[in-house]
């Protein structure tokens, strides 16, 4: 029997969130959010801290009851059909989830024993580089090791769908790379992955589909390429040593003309979107000279999800 035969409706999305609203006290954590996740994809829910990512994820995982709206995961209601749903999904919490005195391999073995057809524990331990910490109590593992263990716990039951909340927050580059490779391979083998992140590079590197959310609302959706293509394909980031005068963006905009847009990012930096040709660069240099500012860096690049976020919200995504 294949995976698609097992699913009740193969083309039905893995996750459907419709007009979800969640309020805690004065804070509207999720404000009419609607989004879908296709089967067999990696979907990133991207947004700054406090955007409502974790609340949305935890509603899908059945931890929270939707105050308004509707959530379906693998066609099931995460509240009413919880017992049927849970064996089919894997959950990686943002932190914790293991006894303080438990050893990494022991914990993983325990979670494996709750499933009917778990993955071989030694293979996962090896893949995630947890071998050296196998006998260390959980409380003495580094943050990165705890996260890799949490990821292993999420996938050991061979789920159809995995929810991972900030999988690489605070990890060193090596560990991030290992984690990304594993998530890639899960997708190739037919697992659907929903991940929250506030890292642009993570979403661009991994995701087939990105949902950008801010203040509990969906503000953009699409593949990383669709989202970053936009009108102009290039950007120039200008960083200077002394703060710009307040009139600088308008002045540079006038200098460069209609074909480019100039956006202030901070007191020290500007983002120029448009054709990054020698002519534009020459104009930017001449303008710096004329304003008496000293460029610290002038970076050419593709438009990133970070730029997209900035353009839509007028704020930086940075934590």
């Amino acid at each position: 029997m294949t995976l698609s035969e097992r699913a009740p409706e193969p083309n039905e999305p893995a996750v459907v969130v419709e007009d979800l609203r969640m309020r805690y006290g004065d804070k509207q954590a999720v404000d009419g959010l609607s989004l879908g996740v296709d089967r067999g994809t990696i979907t990133a829910v991207l947004g700054p801290n406090g955007a409502g990512k974790t609340t949305t994820l935890e509603t899908c995982e059945g931890y929270r009851r939707p105050q308004q709206g509707r959530v379906r995961v693998l066609g099931l209601d995460p509240q009413e059909q919880r017992r049927e749903l849970l064996p089919r999904i894997g959950v990686m919490l943002q932190n914790g989830g293991a006894w303080s005195g438990v050893r990494a391999v022991e914990m993983l073995r325990h979670v494996a024993s709750l499933h009917a057809h778990p993955l071989p524990v030694p293979m996962l331990v090896e893949r995630l580089g947890l071998g050296s910490s196998g006998r260390t109590p959980y409380r003495r593992l580094s943050g990165g090791q705890q996260q890799r263990l949490a990821l292993a716990m999420a996938v050991v039951g061979r789920p159809e769908l995995v929810f991972v909340d900030e999988p690489t927050a605070g990890m060193d580059p090596q560990a991030r790379h290992t984690t990304w490779e594993l998530l890639d391979e899960l997708r190739s083998d037919g697992v659907t992955i929903v991940l929250t992140t506030h890292y642009m590079d993570e979403a661009e590197r991994l995701a087939d589909q990105v949902h950008v959310i801010d203040q509990g609302r969906l503000i953009a959706s699409g593949s990383p390429v669709d989202l970053t293509r936009g009108g102009a394909t290039s950007t120039i980031r200008l960083v200077v040593t002394e703060p710009f005068p307040p009139t600088a963006p308008a002045s540079l905009q006038t200098t460069l003309g209609e074909s480019t847009t100039v956006q202030p990012i901070s007191a020290h930096s500007l983002l120029i979107t448009g054709p990054a040709d020698p002519g534009t660069l020459a104009k930017v240099s001449a303008w710096c000279d004329e304003q008496g500012v000293l460029p610290e860096s002038l970076t050419l690049g593709q438009r990133t999800l970070e730029d997209v976020f900035l353009e839509i919200t007028g704020r930086e995504l940075a934590v």
Binding site: I89, G97, V102, H115, A116, L119, G157, E185, G190, V191
Partner: protein
């Protein structure tokens, strides 16, 4: 709807190809009980609570009785041992359970297991299983030490069955109260409260010393779960009998503890 695909077919060939499913409930419960037993036994403070304090109370109580000339209707070791066994049950099913569960809440263990195939009833069954395993170990060790000190219990069928029933019902009563404390307070507050209540019940809860040795307050004390468990054990091993009143008190505490826990328990 079937969620158990066969192996080795097209579309399910990769290492991580989905093949979800919960283990059978009995296997999950046994796994949970084994895990919790290992963690309980690994913890040094638990050992202190589970064995060292009861043994000190037993040996110290006998020595003190001889020294001060405390008068019991039976020999000191025969009088004190059933109560010390009751104390051991109380330490595990109330104090150890409360502390462990409090920290499981704190560290997100309960939350994480809440997203696993293990249902809450299975988690509870696993916890009870772990408690019973630890209690059997305690009863064997303490019983052996008591026998070495000259304990000669009255062994009748009714008495032995009463003792087993008292341990089970006492565990239920104290575990429900322990979970109530752990589910309502923060982990540190649970740690403090569970130890404090244990010490207060040890000192004044008529668990080790018979209710009548507390004078006029004894009648009121016998409504405590500690006194009820102590009385049930003493009746079983001193007289080979069944203390119906004590069982009623334990049943009432179980009902109260279960109701409070069900109403107030916070999983996170």
């Amino acid at each position: 709807m079937s969620t158990s695909p066969t192996t080795g077919t097209a579309g399910a060939t990769g290492t991580f190809a989905p093949r979800p499913g919960a283990a059978p409930l009995h296997r999950m419960v046994v796994a949970q009980a084994r895990m919790e037993t290992r963690l309980l036994l690994r913890n040094g403070e638990q050992l202190l609570l589970a064995l060292v304090i009861p043994l000190i109370v037993l040996v110290g109580g006998i020595a003190a009785a001889d020294h001060v000339g405390l008068k019991f209707s039976h020999s000191p070791v025969d009088t004190l041992t059933p109560g010390v066994l009751a104390l051991a049950v109380m330490s595990t099913s109330f104090t150890s359970l409360a502390i462990a569960t409090g920290f499981e809440r704190r560290y997100g263990v309960l939350k994480r297991l809440g997203a696993s195939p293990l249902p809450r009833s299975g988690l509870l069954a696993g916890k009870v299983g772990a408690l019973l395993v630890v209690e059997v170990l305690q009863l064997v060790v303490i019983g052996a030490v008591a026998l070495l000190l000259g304990w000669s219990p009255t062994l009748t069928a009714v008495g032995v069955l009463s003792a087993v029933a008292a341990v089970l019902l006492g565990t239920a009563a104290f575990a429900s109260l322990g979970l109530f404390v752990a589910g309502a307070l923060r982990a540190e507050a649970t740690l403090a409260a569970a130890n404090l209540i244990y010490l207060l019940l040890l000192a004044g809860g008529a668990v080790v010393f018979p209710v009548d040795s507390y004078g006029p307050a004894g009648g009121l004390l016998s409504l405590l779960p500690s006194a009820a468990l102590g009385t049930a054990m003493r009746t079983a091993f001193l007289h080979g009998g069944f203390a119906a009143g004590a069982f009623l008190v334990l049943a009432a505490w179980t009902a109260v503890g279960t109701l409070l826990t069900a109403r107030t328990f916070q999983w996170e």
